[in-house]
Subunit: 558 residues, 2 copies
């Protein structure tokens, strides 16, 4: 069997100018990054504004398990299938982070015969967006420490600087550090830490900005900590929103690449789906809508995290709700939600476990339906699936009145997604519902917003705020931040805040430990449990197996 | 008067495919980064190998003063002047670092009408080389800490890890840090620090590698510290030379841009000129030599640091010595070497101070002549220069039998450098000397190499090693590193190791405090005095004045 990088390197890519031409963009109106990657500059995008929007398809999934669901793979394969059906289709994906590439995953751009290419570039530096974000993030850190060192005119409380440094790597040793050691010349010592770049508020801002000016205004609103009077200190106070915008001037332009089957794909922005909203950029999704009749996009983790945030945080900025939602599941992951351990996944057919695990899928179907959008379930095939296991899913979906189709895009590319494509198009054509968000965020308190998410999306009984979070809520509402949406930071593994509670837990409460104001991004993060914003490397990091040979052959990316 | 960024943005650039065509490279054989930047991939460069080398012109300067010398500006202007004279000319420069851009300088790509463009990109992310270096550097750091955390099979002594982290910013708070705090999950706490990216050994390796395979072999040889038996631990021991090479696969390809007057310019690599060798990449200089009849390049700081290292470290790898050296001086900086303070520079003509300060220039002329290469002195004009001051320099150069010409490229571009171009071509045409390095490094001890530099290049009496450095020398020679060249880390402001000793100090000794093995780069750094490898930001960082307006106009880069 070929690895992803082998499939990708055997594939003949079209020059990206050809791909751009297919969606009506001239070679002169794009900025090439080599032959197979391009950025679409703002000027080109502005000329598309009078185009009508295409149909928007959101791909999400059940709560992830170690068995794997294949959400990105399904997104790519569905896009290719729509292309095969003659639909003018554009895909909009998140861009992968280099840290996990070097750590466990070894690559993230779809898989098998449903990939975006050039995967080796997409998984490494791509067009430099991540590096620009890291640079903007750390420029701000340097400016903060320099401000304090040079006299601290803003009276910043060194104990209350919440802006952390960033690096696009998995590096546990940087989670908690002390900076400014070594005496007077090196400034004031203080506790600090590094987040992985995708967890930076700069990334969330990139993904929620509508244009350069909006990005600049969001940067200005970033709160970096408090002064000794406990008032928020912003980037505008420090005066570097212009420099940050300059650093990000190219990063805001969406990146165009292609799938193995030459469907155009925007791969742009990739914020964490726990402490941020987990969706690709508004600029890219908007551009895709102006260029394609059908746009396939995805959101991070399961539907409780990524899709909820897509609906409640991204849609209001994008100004367009999904016309259909695809919920991806695999038989193997349903079995895990039904109580089967990883080591027992290959022990033959187990329809009872599938039936039990279906409860998790059912909750996500119900949640998505509550947004008043049509739902299609995609069963992403795996070689160990049995016919009777699959039948369980079909039957139960039929009971719910939800279309369920098999998909084999990993093995067969677009051809393996034709049924799914047909089902999605049919669902869109017959849809006459009106999108309904989880809450009205102008007229709902922060607490009520969190409660609405827990009750409607997670299926829990209530939300419980710690004393600290309660105090923060009062302070935030006094600061005028009460009208922002809530971004829940919760384990992705469970509908509840207990990562071990698989399936469809009931009767639980979700505890909010602390709030984090992301005023530039425009949301309030509610931390439940511990959220790791800097991953570590495993005992045998993927980096140890990577190499590039003299003839350019790459190994170890997969 | 227009600022550099205004001049640059008013200039009409040619598409870089046109520039490439002028030196015989097809549009298909380059990788575009937007319309005005390109990387020349290895395959394209290999096809040039049978071309004969052009003539190599090294631009260097007197010891820098706050008055400014204009070395990069002269390099660019000389290249444009040669082009005006009908010579097929290629320029090879270092790429600027983003840290100083945000700090004091606000930009570094020549100045006035002798600039390389697009200066706003070159001064920001350019083609991502700096980011790739930062990433490779910090991937290695993460791998080291992860190795220790996961059981420390190599028995690395956490107190003796010499590999530091890096960031391409001026950030004094990162000079000295403690990482790994926060308990067992975050690894072992240890002291660490961040260098600015250009000070990373990865940068020095990029600049001294002849190709991808050579780079890979150099990465493998990097020494990251010692084990508890005090034996060196290398990247090969950790097994990540392949991953580092993969991360750097695009960075090794030289970047092609153009001057305001459309002379092709490689801008690639930019290591520190104190703790590294301060020259642009061997790959770029080699490519320039294969493509141009005349190649103009520069080395960092004054001739005692940059040019010495060019001759003794870069030339052996490049396999080609300069055919001529240009030593740049300004009347203002000669006056400072003659004892005038910055605040008094505008107090009228002072030929006596020029005559006194000429001693500094004279030493550099003599040093360059000792390498057996023809020398031309360029007086980079400034509006405050008086005719009598200039005459002092002409007369004294005439006494030494050295050609001296005025140059006004900052104000007039290539037209202002025609006399300089003619003088350089004449010097090359009449040259029949054979290049002579400062020492024979196979058959000279590390101590003798350092002594040769101090005596021949700095004009000092001797070199003095601390006890620590002496012990290190013995250990290094036992490790088989005795045949490497010495890379002096010395103040750039003086020929001696006392930054206040301007002009031509005599009777001094240079003290070597400590040695640093850069085995991947292939040299031993000799630290004299304190060398700052992480700059800080000033009270009013340049970043505070930077912005990009909605129409794309950039302010604050200059």
């Amino acid at each position: 069997m070929l690895t992803d990088i082998q499939i990708a390197q055997q594939n003949e890519q079209l020059p990206i100018v050809e791909i751009a031409k297919r969606i009506g963009i001239d070679a002169d109106d794009i900025d090439l990054y080599g032959k197979y990657k391009a950025k679409i500059p703002a000027k080109t995008l502005q000329a598309l504004e009078s185009n009508e929007d295409g149909k928007l398809i959101l791909v999400t999934a059940i709560n992830p398990t170690p068995a794997g669901e294949g959400k990105s793979t399904t997104t790519v394969g569905l896009g290719d299938a729509l292309t095969l059906r003659g639909k003018k289709t554009v895909i909009a994906l998140r861009e992968p982070s280099l840290g996990p590439t070097m750590g466990v995953k070894g690559g993230a751009a779809g898989g098998g015969y449903a990939q975006v290419v050039p995967m080796e570039d997409i998984n490494l530096h791509f067009t430099g967006d991540m590096h620009a974000i890291t640079t903007a993030n750390n420029t701000l850190s340097a400016i903060i420490d320099n401000h304090i060192h040079q006299g601290n005119e803003l009276d910043i409380d060194v104990r209350r600087v919440t802006w952390k440094r960033a690096v696009d790597l998995n590096d546990r040793a940087l989670r908690q550090v002390i900076v400014g050691l070594g005496g007077v010349a090196n400034g004031y010592p203080r506790e600090d830490g590094f987040d992985i770049t995708v967890a930076s508020e700069i990334m969330a801002i990139l993904c929620l900005s509508t244009d350069l000016e909006d990005m600049r205004a969001r940067f200005a609103r970033i709160v970096i900590g408090e002064n000794t009077k406990r008032e928020p200190v912003t980037v505008a106070d420090l005066g570097v929103e212009g420099a940050l915008t300059l650093i990000m001037k190219d990063a805001i332009a969406p990146n165009l690449v292609q799938t193995l089957e030459h469907t155009p794909a925007f791969v742009h922005g990739g914020p964490f789906a726990n402490i941020a909203h987990g969706c690709n950029s508004v600029v890219a999704t908007h551009a895709a809508l102006k260029l394609g009749d059908y746009v396939v996009t995805e959101a991070g983790f399961g539907a409780d995290l990524g899709a909820e945030k897509f609906m409640d945080i991204k849609v209001p900025v994008l100004g367009k709700a999904p016309d259909a939602v695809v919920v991806v599941a695999t038989i193997r992951s349903l079995k895990m939600h039904g109580g089967v351990a990883v080591k027992d996944l290959n022990n033959g057919s187990n329809p009872d476990a599938v039936a039990k695990g279906f409860a998790n899928l059912q909750k996500h179907i119900e949640t998505m339906q509550a947004f008043q959008v049509p739902v299609v379930v995609a069963v992403n095939e795996f070689v160990t699936d049995s016919a009777e296991e699959e039948q369980v899913v079909f039957d139960k979906c039929a009971e719910l009145g939800v279309t369920c189709v098999k998909s084999s895009v990993w093995e067969n590319g677009g051809q393996g997604g034709l049924d799914l494509a047909d089902a999605v198009v049919a669902a869109i054509d017959s849809n006459d519902q009106v999108f309904q968000a989880t809450y009205d965020y102008e007229n709902t308190s922060l607490e009520e917003k969190a409660r609405a998410i827990v009750q409607k999306v997670y299926g829990g009984d209530d939300v419980v705020f710690s004393k600290k979070a309660r105090n923060q809520m009062r302070r935030f509402e006094r600061n005028g931040w009460g009208n922002l949406p809530i971004c829940m930071a919760k384990t992705q593994y469970s509908l509840s805040d207990d990562p071990k509670a698989l399936g469809r837990p009931e009767g639980f409460k979700v505890s909010v430990r602390e709030l984090v104001p992301k005023i530039g991004a425009g949301f309030i993060v509610a931390l439940t449990g511990d959220v790791l914003t800097m991953p570590g490397l495993p005992k045998h990091p993927a980096a140890l197996d990577m190499d590039i040979k003299a003839d350019g052959e790459i190994v170890g990316l997969f």
